[in-house]
């Protein structure tokens, strides 16, 4: 289908985008890669009256070394994250996960900031940012704030960003020599994860789950078990605790709970090998 009638405006800087969002209020939506928003608009599940295009603005897609972390511009495309040699060496999980998103054409357009802002519990990149202990820099009319990824996802497709804020950067702590793993379980090429797991075994091991609740989430029970000295098998056995997996055509909640336990064990084994 064709999106409903709308007004297209363009922002040539983050400040201009914030001004446009403030002017048009809740009628407006930011447009980055468009690979979550345009499909929703074609189904008329999203009907923004105004689109504020940020996809063409300069300077928000660099990937740079910022000392203890890598600063990834919000508009960095999945393909750029995937092929960044800096990320491949300093936070390899993120580059690897980006390479598993959708297909090459999707990765040529979709952005890291857009994926986080969309906050889909079935999406891959939020899980990577959670497992790496990343944080999200947002800019708004009152200036800048930095939100810990663990506090960012607040509800189904809802995040801690307000309507007049824009994500400008994602900070990814360097994961050094920490072991990591990404497990994405699906049945057909290109599909979204039925369940997925990202793990980074740094000083305090972090494990996140895809499609196990209303938001991208950290596997709290697994992390506590590991912190308490539990084995991979012991930690994996509690993977579904505290989660609320959905039931859909791909599988019911019980099946997803099972997948979470299996995939967490595989992830922990791979990350520590």
């Amino acid at each position: 289908m064709i999106p409903a009638a709308l007004k297209y405006v363009e922002a040539d800087s983050a400040t201009a985008a914030i001004a446009a969002l403030s002017e048009y209020g809740d009628e407006a939506k930011l447009l980055a890669g468009g690979h979550s928003l345009i499909p929703l608009m074609r189904f008329r599940l999203a009907v923004p009256a105004v689109l504020v295009d940020i996809s063409r603005l300069d300077g928000l897609s660099d990937i740079t070394d910022a000392g203890d972390h890598i600063a990834v511009g919000a508009l960095a495309k999945h393909a750029e994250v995937e092929s960044s040699s800096l990320l491949q060496s300093e936070a390899p999980l993120l580059a690897h996960v980006a390479s598993k998103v959708g297909d090459p054409s999707v990765r040529h357009r979709g952005t890291l900031g857009g994926s986080l802002a969309h906050g889909d519990p079935a999406s891959d990149l939020p899980a990577a940012v959670l497992a790496l202990g990343g944080s999200i820099v947002v800019q708004g009319p009152d200036g800048e704030r930095v939100i810990d990824a663990a506090e960012f996802f607040t509800g189904f497709l809802e995040t801690a960003i307000s309507e007049t804020e824009i994500i400008t950067e994602v900070r990814i702590p360097k994961s050094g020599s920490a072991g990591w793993s990404f497990q994405k379980f699906n049945r057909r090429a290109q599909d979204w994860a039925i369940v997925g797991v990202a793990a980074v075994l740094g000083a305090s091991p972090k494990v996140s789950l895809i499609n196990m609740g209303l938001t991208p989430l950290r596997a709290g029970a697994v992390e506590s078990a590991l912190a308490g000295g539990g084995s991979a098998a012991e930690a994996a056995s509690v993977a579904a605790e505290g989660t609320s997996a959905p039931s859909d055509l791909n599988g019911d909640a019980e099946y997803r709970d099972h997948l979470a336990r299996v995939l967490v064990e595989r992830a922990l084994d791979e990350a520590s090998s």
């Binding site: 345009i38 996809s55 054409s105 357009r109 090429a189």
Partner: protein
């Protein structure tokens, strides 16, 4: 950045398509695929789904494969766009088109323009892919007819490792 010009409810779109400068006024909500098909009458770019999954609409923007059903025409003002109609030169098929012909890489042909655009983009990023890399690289393009075997063979015959 290209100037954004509105006339009433229309937005002015200037871009280069298949090497030719094109200009039109379209509604803001116009998707690139509809601009190409309905305004420029480049109907080689197909629409096969409503969910951004099939890849029949694949074109190149700045040489990279993109699903033209999931981009607004207004977003790519000023861009260099190539469609399947722009692949042949002076009546000679592009090597990838020729390979699909030689290897019988199509049956009904509906997915073919998108397959050719995705495959050429893939080879521009990885000139010598393995069979597995070709299969993965084409995962955003669905073919209902051929079972992919001859499509993969076509691509490998142009740039692959076997």
């Amino acid at each position: 950045m290209d100037q954004l010009t509105h006339r009433g409810i229309f937005v002015q779109i200037d871009m280069t398509v298949n090497g030719r400068a094109c200009s039109a006024d379209v509604e803001d909500r116009t998707l690139l695929v509809h601009y190409l098909r309905d305004h420029l009458e480049l109907t080689g770019t197909n629409v096969g789904c409503d969910t951004s999954s099939c890849g029949a609409c694949t074109v190149h923007i700045g040489g990279q494969s993109v699903k033209s059903c999931t981009v607004l025409a207004a977003q790519v003002r000023g861009a260099d766009v190539t469609t399947i109609e722009g692949m042949a030169t002076d009546g000679e098929l592009h090597p990838m088109q020729e390979a699909f012909r030689q290897c019988h890489g199509l049956q009904c042909g509906y997915c073919t323009p998108g397959m050719v655009m995705a495959a050429t983009s893939l080879l521009s990023e990885n000139a010598n892919p393995t069979e597995a890399e070709v299969r993965e690289g084409l995962e955003g393009n669905l073919c209902r007819c051929t079972g992919y075997q001859n499509i993969v063979k076509s691509v490998l015959s142009v740039g692959g490792q076997s």
